[in-house]
């Protein structure tokens, strides 16, 4: 991280050098740096590119001994990059392996490295968003919130399980990417087990969301209709006798359909909920 003066070797000196090998420590340190900083410098123009370059910089300095080569390598990794931080680790692993080969005079054109990065960042962002953010996070937070809802401080600690799991996950994916190389990683995208993992995680996630919706979504109609010469008919009681929780279920799916058809326009949904509930409260149906 610190800038020691860069040693400049003459060509004759360099050709005498033995092959530069990266150690396990280099690889792991790079992952930890990435995990620490990957979102800090995120910008609209370049997304995670500065973090990508910075996290690889110790490795690049070890691999490239001349200022020109190092400068080229750093510039190469400031190109646009955006993936999901954990599953995207596979791409870093592959990139490190390719840079290592390139530094050792194997014929690897710059475009091959940039190509593999830009080609894989989208698909793995999709997988990572679905598995880590879309499924694992809601499940763990569901547990945390149900503890928290009882006033228990334990609820504040459970979420760090997510930190732990994803850190270990990223650590393995990073090393996996480095050791198996690009063809094997590409084959992950077509292999069945990722799809099965996503399906299983989706089922569990949906079950949990259903259970949580039943616990946390609240809507009742405290109206009753007077019937001549009989008991007043309570609307909520009538609904409950069909099935409990019909209104919360209806509201959840109404919002789901709106999101699906009209896109994720949160502000409009938030305002609609606010206005409808306030009107309902004013005229007394909620």
């Amino acid at each position: 991280m610190t800038s020691e003066p860069i040693k400049v070797y003459s060509d004759t000196e360099k050709s005498k050098e033995v092959e530069i090998k990266l150690t396990k420590k280099d690889i792991n340190r790079s992952f930890i740096l990435w995990w620490l900083i990957c979102e800090i410098s995120n910008s609209y123009e370049r997304m995670q590119s500065v973090a990508f370059c910075a996290s690889l910089s110790p490795i690049l300095r070890k691999l490239y001994r001349t200022k020109e080569e190092l400068s080229e390598a750093l510039t190469r990794h400031l190109n646009f990059f955006n993936s999901q931080g954990i599953w995207g680790s596979l791409i870093h692993g592959i990139t490190i392996a390719m840079e290592e080969q390139k530094a050792n005079k194997k014929k690897i054109p710059d475009s091959a490295i940039t190509g593999i990065k830009t080609g894989l960042m989208g698909p793995f962002a999709g997988i990572g968003d679905t598995i880590d953010w879309g499924t694992l996070k809601p499940i763990i937070f569901a547990l945390a919130c149900s503890f928290g809802a009882t006033g228990s401080a334990f609820g504040a600690f459970i979420p760090f399980l997510f930190t732990l799991i994803t850190f270990v996950e990223g650590y393995y994916l990073w090393n996996f990417g480095y050791s198996v190389g690009r063809e094997s990683v590409k084959s992950i995208l077509q292999s069945g087990w990722v799809q099965e993992l996503i399906t299983g995680a989706s089922i569990l996630g949906l079950c949990m969301m259903g259970a949580l919706a039943a616990t946390f979504v609240r809507l009742e109609i405290p109206l009753s209709i007077d019937i001549e010469g009989g008991e007043p008919l309570a609307i909520q009681g009538l609904l409950d006798s069909i099935a409990p929780g019909l209104l919360p279920l209806f509201v959840t799916f109404a919002i789901y359909w709106y999101l699906k058809k009209k896109g994720q326009n949160f502000t409009i949904i938030l305002l609609s909920i606010l206005v409808l509930c306030l009107i309902g409260s004013f005229i007394g149906i909620f």
Binding site: W35, I40, S41, E45, R46, M47, C53, A54, S57, K67, S71, L74, T75, L78, G85, G134, T135, K137, A142, L143, A144, C145, S146, G148, A149, T150, A153, P159, F160, T163, F167, T199, S202, I203, L204, L206, M208, M209, G210, A211, L212, A213, A214, V217, R218, L219, A243, G245, L249, T252, I255, L259, F266, L270, I273, L274, C277, L278, G280, S281
Partner: protein
């Protein structure tokens, strides 16, 4: 509210929104997590946890696809929890109070990511000089300083003066609006779940949502039980489908 609390929550919020530690900051900024230090300082841990959990539910399904935050749960929680605890607010009303801050926080993040582009250009120059230290400044130091100025002042001011402002509002509000706001707070979590279902994105699997929903409605099982049954159902479905499991099961 106390100067100490305002300073502390603002610092903690800066740490969380500075995004240090990919899946650490994402956890630290969550209302249910922030509720612990806030509750401890304010001396009402139980209320803070309840309010934090209720606000968190709203944002449970948020996925920042392409790093675009749909709503800023961190900003919502760190401002709404102290104010709600201080004023003794109903949990559902606290959820409603959190929502506008969740929207405002997104703007702060947009400003951050716009200005960060300038640091990326500086990094280009450092790369041309092979100046690794300079790149690290652009990757960590400058963005963190920027986030401090974006995140510390609003949280500090809101937590210093917010409670009395909100209390003033609540005192003049007619009953039906207060009741209405708590109805809103009861319905808003539905948005959180609807988003999660959408993100999981498998229309064919929606019956599993209904199973989870009515398991709780009819049998009043708790969330841990739902997690256990859910895991078994998921395993059964996946193993049966692959055939491997089907054979070994017979």
């Amino acid at each position: 509210m106390s100067f100490g609390l305002a300073t502390f929550t603002a610092l903690l919020h800066w740490l969380a929104m500075g995004k240090l530690g990919y899946t650490f900051q994402a956890v630290l900024r969550q209302p249910v997590v922030m509720a612990l230090p806030i509750g401890l300082i304010m001396g009402d841990l139980s209320s803070a946890m309840k309010i934090g959990a209720a606000i968190n539910i709203l944002y449970i399904g948020m996925v920042a696809a392409g790093s675009n935050l749909p709503a800023d749960e961190g900003f919502a929680g760190v401002i709404a929890i102290p104010i709600a605890v201080q004023t003794g607010m109903d949990t559902a009303v606290a959820v409603t109070l959190a929502v506008p801050f969740g929207v405002l926080g997104v703007f702060l993040d947009q400003i951050r990511r716009t200005i960060n582009a300038g640091f990326a250009h500086r990094a280009d120059k450092h790369a041309a000089d092979a100046n690794i230290k300079g790149i690290w400044y652009c990757a960590v130091l400058y963005p963190l300083i920027l986030t401090f100025f974006l995140r510390f002042p609003p949280v500090f001011i809101a937590n210093l003066y917010g409670a009395s402002v909100v209390e003033g509002f609540i005192n003049v509000m007619p009953d039906w609006t207060l009741h209405g706001l708590s109805v809103v707070g009861g319905v808003l979590p539905a948005l959180g779940f609807a988003i999660t279902v959408l993100i999981i994105g498998k229309g064919k699997l929606i019956p599993f949502f209904i199973i989870g929903f009515f398991m709780v409605q009819y049998f009043a099982i708790d969330i841990m039980a739902a997690a256990i049954f859910g895991t078994c159902i998921a395993l059964l479905v996946v193993l049966m489908k692959t055939g491997k499991g089907a054979r070994s099961a017979t």
